[in-house]
């Protein structure tokens, strides 16, 4: 018990002393990012056009934009899974080349291994990095406790509800104590109530370890409630249309309550005014294409 608690506490104290803003290596600078794909027909399709924005260390940045505007593509290049056609992504001043160190990803779809137990799934990060088994197990158990899943260690993912699976994914993403957390519509598939609960929990955990977060969502309320900065992207080919700083005080507490604050409503309206035009244009294009 004693040894388990030691391991459990070390990450929190470690990051607290390091200080959130001091971690210069967690700054993301995206400049002139362009991505082109070759379509099966042999044509060049520009998915992203000259995207530039910066996410400060420890900042929570939400990215909103019409579907298909290249949000996921952008994140793929931040994590190093994909290469830009032009421009660059710098993390902590160093250009991304290969998988970015200290990054965790959360997807909309489940990325849990169905053949591993809940514990086994959370263990993956430490195991891949060569952390000794005992230590890895202790910290996995601790993270499962933190996301409220103590006692579910031996279940398989298919035995859990959608919300519980998200919590496992969250523990699996955070156990490596990433300096950067990339989330691609992580709660998009959840029902409204579960989503609100998960968002609040995410905020609590984020405030504890303060990684830099890039959070894609199509839910404007979610973006404003969670983020320090909201990047609005244009319809395809995606570029940055506007950047909003969200000055709602922290800690924000429950995501459901903040919706009723006048400042929240004001910001939400401003952003929606900017976004609506793009969404309508994207919609007209797909609807036109289908007709």
């Amino acid at each position: 018990m004693a040894s388990r608690n030691d391991v459990a506490k070390s990450p929190i104290t470690g990051t607290a002393t390091a200080g959130a803003a001091a971690r210069e290596d967690a700054r993301i600078e995206i400049s002139g990012l362009t991505k082109r794909f070759l379509t099966p027909a042999g044509e060049v399709f520009t998915a992203l056009q000259d995207v530039s924005f910066t996410v400060e260390p420890g900042q929570f940045c939400a990215v909103v934009g019409p579907t298909g505007c290249g949000k996921s593509t952008t994140l793929g290049m931040v994590s190093g899974l994909d290469r830009p056609s032009e421009g660059s992504v710098k993390v902590g001043g160093r250009e991304v080349d290969g998988i970015t160190d200290g990054v965790s990803f959360m997807f909309q779809a489940d990325a849990l291994l169905p053949w591993k137990t809940v514990l086994g799934n959370v263990l993956m990060g430490p195991v891949f990095r060569g952390v000794p088994k005992q230590q890895a197990q202790a910290s996995a158990r601790d993270w499962l406790r933190r996301v409220g899943l103590a006692g579910f260690e031996d279940r398989y993912p298919h035995q859990l509800s959608g919300g519980m699976r998200k919590r496992v994914a969250m523990a699996a993403a955070l156990i490596n104590e990433p300096k950067i957390l990339i989330m691609d519509e992580p709660f998009g598939a959840l029902d409204v109530q579960t989503k609100a609960i998960m968002s609040t929990e995410l905020l609590t955990l984020w405030e504890q370890i303060r990684p830099t977060v890039v959070f894609i969502t199509h839910d404007l309320d979610e973006a404003v409630a969670l983020a320090d900065r909201v990047v609005v992207m244009t319809s395809s080919p995606g570029s940055v249309k506007a950047v909003f700083d969200i000055d709602l005080p922290r800690p924000r507490g429950s995501v459901q309550e903040i919706r009723f604050q006048p400042r929240f409503i004001e910001l939400q309206h401003q952003i929606w005014d900017t976004l609506r035009e793009e969404v309508e244009r994207a919609y007209a294009r797909t609807a036109g294409g289908k007709a």
Binding site: A111, W115, N176
Partner: protein, 292 residues
């Protein structure tokens, strides 16, 4: 229905539920009874018909055997053995060849399948050749192996291994190709090396496919061993079949066929057990859930 509601003092809702349950259970029992009746009747019809037709002389038992004759021959084989010695020794020889061939074919099939599934370059280079080899009637390779390695157990093991290899290989290859892209991306971002991805993601994911292939693969291992023995051997069930054939003894062929069937069914059962253990993580299939 009325009995349940009078016996239980529970509210009406519970009574209704209980009657639904007994109703459903009765239906299931009825279905199971009908199924077993059907099975037994069919079995009796086929075996009894065979016996009757040969006994009445409509079908010549000299060519087509006779169930009672097969049973007698089977007992005789086990008690007195064959020309080349104990029947158990023949069974053991064939079983051994099939098992070793099965093991070699499975291991190489999995290794090559995973390697090719993993590497775009390798699969591009080897793809056409594998298609060509797959198009060859591989059973004919038995003759080549006999020429090259004589009439010992080696050519039988090799033939069994070749037959098994292709089945397992194609399934392993396909299984690797079907790995979920999100899971792969996630493992990469978490810092997995190539080897760790193979071990933690690719192989477990392909396992469903690989194990599915093992069911038919063991049957092919036995076929490989038997064909090899028919082509030329000093021991084994294939030799027993061949000798029976040469002696115009259809009952001997059928008796040995029966033994082979029992072996394959035993292996099938073991593979089923293995499947159950290795794939314990899988959600139960809908039919399993629904069956009362």
């Amino acid at each position: 229905m009325s009995t349940t509601s009078t016996v239980s003092p529970a509210p009406a809702g519970n009574g209704a539920q209980a009657s639904v349950e007994t109703d459903a259970r009765r239906k299931v029992r009825k279905r199971v009874t009908a199924m077993w009746t059907g099975r037994i009747v069919l079995g009796i019809l086929v075996v009894g018909g065979w016996q009757a037709f040969t006994a009445l002389g409509i079908v010549d038992k000299f060519f087509f055997g006779q169930p009672t004759g097969i049973v007698t021959r089977l007992i005789d084989l086990f008690q007195h053995g064959t020309e080349q010695g104990s029947y158990y020794a023949d069974i053991w020889t064939t079983l051994q060849e099939a098992l070793i061939g099965f093991a070699i074919g499975t291991v190489t099939g999995v290794v090559v399948g995973v390697a090719l599934g993993q590497s775009r370059f390798l699969s591009d280079v080897l793809g056409p050749y594998i298609k060509i080899v797959n198009a060859i009637p591989r059973i004919v390779l038995g003759s080549i192996f006999m020429i090259a390695f004589g009439i010992g157990t080696l050519p039988k093991v090799l033939l069994a291994a070749v037959l098994v290899f292709f089945i397992v290989f194609f399934n392993a290859f396909q299984g690797v190709r079907e790995v979920d892209r999100n899971i792969l991306a996630n493992a990469k971002v978490l810092g997995a090396s190539e080897l760790q991805i193979v071990r933690h993601v690719t192989v477990p994911s392909a396992l469903t496919w690989i194990i599915a292939s093992l069911h038919s693969a063991f049957g092919f291992a036995i076929v490989g061993a038997l064909v090899g023995e028919v082509l030329g051997a000093q021991h084994g069930l294939g030799l027993v079949i061949k000798t029976s054939m040469d002696n115009f003894d259809p009952n001997g062929v059928f008796a040995t066929m029966f033994v082979v069937a029992v072996i394959v069914m035993g292996a099938e059962w073991l593979i089923g057990k293995l499947e159950h253990r290795l794939l314990a993580w899988r959600p139960p299939s809908p039919s399993e859930v629904n069956s009362l």
